[in-house]
Symmetry: C2
DNA sequence: AACTTTATGTCAGCCTTGTTGACTTTCCAA
DNA sequence: TTGGAAAGTCAACAAGGCTGACATAAAGTT
């Protein structure tokens, strides 16, 4: 699949995508994702939780009252796997599970005050890093960053992502 | 930590970083990383390997002859964890481990032809997705993407990342 | 009313990939 | 030459994925 790299002089208006360039992009994703999860991981460890717990409370915070099934779709894990995490979060009093009023089979999930506190703590450090990175890179870079990430998503996840439209801008 | 969102009219020259904006960035990373690993995961599954194996052969390909210790620094796992993965790759004939000539404690790692074949197969699909995303987003977006990712890395990882400088451009 | 489907939860067991602890071999420096 | 440090290996454990089987309750269908 080698692209037969264009020389230094070939059109910059098209894309100059040598395998080396693409490889750098791939490694950038790899290392950046580690940075992205580093702060949350530190906090979670103090509380004896893992990333799985973080993902759950993140999306419950984003969509309070979401059902277990919704969450399964977003997280892309099995119900057994999610259930294990959810059970401990409920036992520990971070998440509340309310039986649906219209459809009593459904469980609607909410963060308790305690759960919101942990979510907030993690959210804060994660946003802080994102904010720093954004400021270092500048507004144009931020737009590009989001565009590339969006183009990299699987179609179904892209829908999930876009279903929460941008707040202000 | 709420930023007290600036209204639609406030200076676009500074950064317009509402919590909502930052949250979108966080979710973009989350969903994009899934897309990023989706194709490799499919191929790896056919060969009964996991992401850990992929990471190993990726960085051995990038730096042939690297030692186990070097690899540990890059991958950020324990040597025991890496060793298990390495052992199966060596048993399966994808990786060759040569005892160091100067320092016999060291093992220098190389991909065999078979290992290079798998690495290439995975690399191809991963680059293909990256290329598609880059093309969809355009050159300016690509630059921004890389800038933000780099700003998001932990300092030590940033050094690792930058140690392989850009090929052409 | 009987049957089927859906939503959720649970138990059991497996696999990958992280972890720590203990150990061997090799190297180097006092 | 001997003791510590470094590189690598083996053993055992934990988290969090997975599948399969099954239970319950509520909805929906016939």
């Amino acid at each position: 699949m080698a692209e037969g790299g264009p020389g230094p002089g070939s059109g910059e208006s098209l894309l100059f995508l040598t395998d080396e360039q693409l490889r750098k992009g791939i490694e950038a994703m790899f290392f950046a994702y580690r940075g992205f999860t580093a702060d949350p991981d530190r906090i979670l460890e103090e509380h004896a939780y893992g990333r799985a717990h973080h993902r759950a409370i993140h999306f419950i915070k984003r969509s309070p009252g979401t059902t277990v099934n919704n969450l399964l779709g977003i997280l892309g894990v099995t119900k057994q796997s999610l259930n294990r995490v959810l059970r401990t979060l409920i036992e520990d009093g971070l998440v509340e599970s309310r039986i649906g009023r219209r459809d009593k089979r459904e469980r609607h999930l909410f963060l308790t005050e305690k759960g919101a506190a942990l979510e907030g703590e993690i959210s804060d450090v994660q946003r802080a890093r994102m904010r720093t990175a954004y400021r270092a890179a500048g507004p144009a870079a931020v737009a590009g960053f989001r565009q590339v990430l969006e183009a990299m998503m699987e179609p179904e996840m892209k829908r999930q992502y876009q279903s929460l439209k941008d707040g202000g801008t």
